[in-house]
């Protein structure tokens, strides 16, 4: 009886602790990595490898929460002027810059963003992310190009110690999302001057205001991040230490290290996934890895510069025939292609639009479900009947004008075994469906080094698998590869699409969408219309989104910030390391709950 009473008491005590909102407990996090940091100078580097550390050591004005809603970070609140040009931020008081030993250096103030901008827009520093900021901040581009030399004319001002104001060239509806990117992070001007060109070269030459401090950093050995005790939001940082060990063969050794309990999470390479899935013990600790906002598509090239042996003149004729493009568009079995990298769950990565789902929404409605785009987002482009119908039409229209079979030069990166296999699959699949009397797909291998320079960028392809990642949280970012001046597939050179103003129909639709800066729902609908048009005219074949695959991990999923763009998604803040890795079933249950909660959160969101 006594035991029963004691057990009940303990249970009640435990429940009361839980209900009182005790902070989740977490183990330390261990990992291996194969790509060493090239710099910690967050004002110059565009590399996600570096951002994965920077996101955890320096905070910006705003950040995303776990549902993808923008929330205050070092700005406690903000205000946008009625004309949409001036953004005024109130900076959080009492936030400290600390050194790598956690010692106070200075307070974070509004001037830190001005000093960062001054460094960023100074051409001498050759920042590779400056363009993201100077594309919107007033006079920043002119300052960068040396057309003006007085920095006070640039649209970044510290109104007082804790009030910061950005003035933009034009209203930018997605400006808040841009603030989660590295080029809008603050820097302490005095420290920057003290360190000079050594700023960001190691863990002692940066200051920290984020959730973690890079306590040790030894290139090609490892790094340790420890929780920043002076962090303004430290009650939401649960993992005390993040310990990373360098190993160039991390991709090969990672699974073994995870099985030996030496690391906390690992991506399972596609070459191993089969053996893991067949082993019940291993299968129980495997779960799907998150997909990313990278988009993959097969592009038709309207500006072929490839070698005469692949008959570029003939390609120019056929690629300008919509029925020919549609025949390929509907003939490509994307699932078969995806099996080369995702043998267990190809559907998770297959995608029917250029812009990924969950990228942006208006009033809770996902962008890919807007306007005409909804038709494509819900339909698999692979359709044998349609493919053969379009083939018949194309052959009839091109008879006497083009030579069959059409030689289709399709480069692939020989450094990627998945891509190499996929090139063979696509060749066999398309030729088998459409007939080798119609097309002759010619996969051509190129080395990994300088791959894009040798292929896509100079138009050295007929059809090529391409990708693109977003620069800000707005569908405009996914139009960048296809507007005039880009070097993807030159749709502006397609015949039959030029309108009265001398520009292509797609470009005009995009311009119309860009001009809508007040009504976000309308803006998204216009972009959705343009994207639907672009897909409908078969300028590209949407293929997939990035990431995916499988992982074994003790990190609790959906506890970290979710973001379509920027660095928030790279933060360990809010995460916990569980005692055991989660199974796929466990993951799916958490995901379903998270999706429901997210839908509600997005409906309530102001931004």
């Amino acid at each position: 009886m006594k035991k029963t009473v004691m057990a009940a008491f303990c249970t009640l005590l435990f429940l009361s602790v839980i209900s009182a909102g005790a902070a989740p407990k977490s183990e330390d996090y261990y990992s291996v990595y194969s790509g060493e940091l090239t710099t910690l100078n967050y004002l110059v580097t565009p590399s996600e490898n570096e951002h994965s550390v920077i996101a955890n050591i320096v905070d910006g004005l705003v950040e995303y929460d776990r549902y993808g809603v923008l929330v205050p970070s070092l700005a406690t609140d903000w205000d946008n002027s009625p004309d949409g040009l001036k953004w005024t931020f109130t900076i959080r008081k009492g936030v400290k810059w600390v050194d790598n030993n956690g010692h106070d250096y200075a307070d974070v103030t509004a001037q830190d963003w001005v000093d960062a901008a001054k460094y960023l827009f100074d051409k001498k520093n050759a920042s590779l992310t400056a363009d993201v900021a100077y594309s919107v901040v007033k006079n920043a581009k002119a300052y960068f190009e040396g057309k003006i030399t007085d920095f006070s004319q640039v649209g970044v001002k510290a109104i007082d110690k804790y009030t910061l104001q950005y003035t933009l060239e034009k209203p930018v509806p997605y400006f808040l999302s841009m603030l989660t990117y590295v080029c809008f992070l603050p820097v302490n001007g005095k420290f920057l001057a003290e360190t000079g060109t050594r700023f960001g070269t190691d863990n002692r030459t940066v200051l920290y205001n984020g959730a973690y401090v890079l306590q040790t950093f030894e290139p090609q050995v490892g790094r340790t991040l420890v929780r920043n005790d002076k962090y303004w939001d430290k009650e939401h940082v649960y993992i005390k230490r993040l310990i990373f060990k360098y190993n160039k063969e991390a991709g090969t050794l990672g699974p073994e290290l995870f099985l030996r309990g030496e690391i906390s999470s690992v991506t399972i390479p596609s070459s191993l996934i089969d053996s893991w899935m067949k082993d019940p013990a291993k299968k129980a600790i495997v779960r799907p890895a998150e997909t990313t906002m990278y988009t993959y598509f097969y592009a038709f090239n309207f500006n072929p510069t490839f070698d005469a042996q692949y008959e570029p003149d003939n390609w120019k004729i056929v690629v300008n025939n919509k029925n020919f493009r549609e025949s390929i568009f509907h003939a490509l079995d994307r699932r078969a292609a995806m099996l080369t990298s995702e043998p267990y769950a190809p559907e998770r990565r297959l995608h029917n639009t250029i812009t990924p789902r969950n990228f942006v929404n208006a009033g809770g409605k996902d962008y890919v479900n807007m306007d005409d785009l909804a038709k494509y987002s819900k339909t698999d482009s692979f359709n044998k009947t349609l493919a053969l119908d379009f083939k018949a039409k194309a052959k009839a229209e091109l008879a006497g004008k083009a030579k069959f079979p059409v030689k289709i030069m399709m480069p692939y990166n020989a450094g990627s075994s998945d891509w190499t296999n996929r090139a063979q699959v696509v060749e066999q699949q398309l030729e088998s469906l459409l007939g080798s009397d119609y097309i002759d797909i010619i996969p051509v291998s190129f080395p990994a080094t300088g791959f894009l320079g040798a292929t896509r960028r100079k138009g050295n392809y007929a059809i090529q698998e391409c990708n693109w990642g977003p620069d800000y949280a707005d569908p405009e970012t996914y139009t960048d590869p296809f507007v005039a001046g880009s070097n993807y597939n030159w749709p502006e050179k397609a015949t039959g699409y030029v309108q009265a103003n001398g520009k292509g129909a797609y470009e005009n639709m995009v311009s119309q969408a860009k001009a809508e800066v007040v009504n976000i729902a309308k803006r998204y609908e216009l972009f959705a219309k343009a994207e639907a048009y672009f897909i409908g005219e078969a300028f590209v074949i949407p293929y997939a989104i990035g990431g995916g695959g499988f992982e074994a991990s003790k990190l609790e999923p959906f506890s970290y910030p979710f973001a379509p763009f920027g660095m928030s998604i790279l933060k360990y803040k809010g995460q916990t390391v569980m005692q055991k890795p989660l199974s796929t079933d466990g993951y799916n249950k958490l995901k379903a709950t998270w999706e429901d909660e997210r839908e509600e959160a997005l409906k309530k969101s102001k931004y």
């Binding site: 090239t38 051409k123 050759a126 290139p219 030996r260 030496e262 894009l452 320079g453 960028r457 070097n487």
Partner: protein, 314 residues
């Protein structure tokens, strides 16, 4: 000898100048976009120009080359432009050399001891079990891709002997497998080499004469066969030891050893010119010094060899 050393020194400096200058110019022929990696597409033309200006790549090639040699004479090899932006190349390279050198020397010594012993045993027991086992080992090491057996050794031997999977400089046990792995190729090479020369020597007339004169087998082996067989090896030994500072690409990668292995390949791929130039300078110097020392060592081992003209020079 002094004349010889001065002459070789002069030749070495000319060789070094040619090698470094050619590599310097070749690096300038690489595509500009290589300096920007995957981010190239997202940069504006102004940003690309600013970045190239900062890297000093917009000046004419002869200005760049002159600047490199001028700074080099002042002891300044420049700063990394990509691999670790703004960090002096000396600071990047210097801490890595000792790791590769320690492992390299330890593995070379181990390979010499085991390889020479094995080769001598094989030569002495030609056609018998020891010879066959040794031949099997040599064939295995040379025929099977090293990536396969090195990974096998790492995954299974660490489990079997409870050794760490990754290198930790503070843990002596983590030094064992990389050293053994690194010595395997050298062991096979030295064994094959010494066996071949000893078998050749054993078939020569002077050995038959010595045998017929009743000299003991031990004396014949040590004083004649091994000494003569070792002479051709002696030439390459200094270069082999010195070149260990270039590290082992795969073994250092597998065990997370922060050495020089693969560094040159990495920086060439990333087009980090100052790093490439510094490494080429170091590796070329080491190669030249190694060959030079090899010549001297050979002259010491074999009195018949003279290094100066008119004295029966080679």
């Amino acid at each position: 000898m002094t004349k010889y050393i001065l002459k070789r020194l002069g030749q070495s400096l000319v060789t070094l100048f040619i090698v470094v200058s050619v590599v310097f110019l070749l690096m300038r022929l690489l595509p500009v976009e290589g300096y920007f990696g995957d981010g190239y597409d997202k940069l504006t033309p102004e940003q690309r120009t600013a970045a190239l200006q900062r890297m000093g790549l917009l000046d004419p090639w002869y200005v760049q080359l002159g600047r490199f040699y001028f700074n080099m004479l002042k002891g300044d090899l420049g700063t990394s432009i990509i691999y670790r932006r703004d960090v002096p190349v000396v600071e990047i390279i210097a801490p890595r050399i000792p790791y590769s050198f320690y492992f390299g020397v330890a593995a070379t010594v181990l390979a010499l001891i085991v390889g020479l012993s094995l080769g001598i045993a094989m030569a002495r027991k030609k056609g018998r079990a020891a010879d066959k086992v040794g031949t099997g080992y040599i064939v295995l090491i040379n025929a099977v891709p090293s990536a396969v057996y090195l990974l096998f050794i790492q995954l299974y031997l660490t489990s079997l002997f409870s050794l760490p999977l990754l290198f930790d400089r503070y843990q002596f046990r983590s030094w064992i497998l990389p050293t053994i792995s690194l010595s395997l190729g050298g062991t096979a090479g030295y064994a094959m080499w010494i066996r071949r020369y000893m078998v050749d020597e054993l078939n020569k007339d002077y050995i038959k004469l010595a045998m017929s004169k009743g000299l003991s087998e031990k004396k014949i082996m040590v004083r004649h066969v091994m000494r003569n067989a070792f002479v051709p090896m002696a030439q390459y030994l200094p270069a082999a030891i010195l070149s260990t500072i270039s590290g082992s690409i795969y073994i250092e990668s597998l065990y997370s050893i922060p050495g020089m292995g693969g560094l040159l390949v990495d920086v060439i791929q990333r087009q980090d010119n100052p790093m490439v130039q510094a490494l080429v300078l170091i590796f070329s110097s080491v190669g030249i010094i190694g060959l030079f020392l090899g010549d001297i060592l050979m002259a010491i081992f074999d009195p018949r060899i003279k290094l100066v003209k008119g004295e029966g020079a080679r």
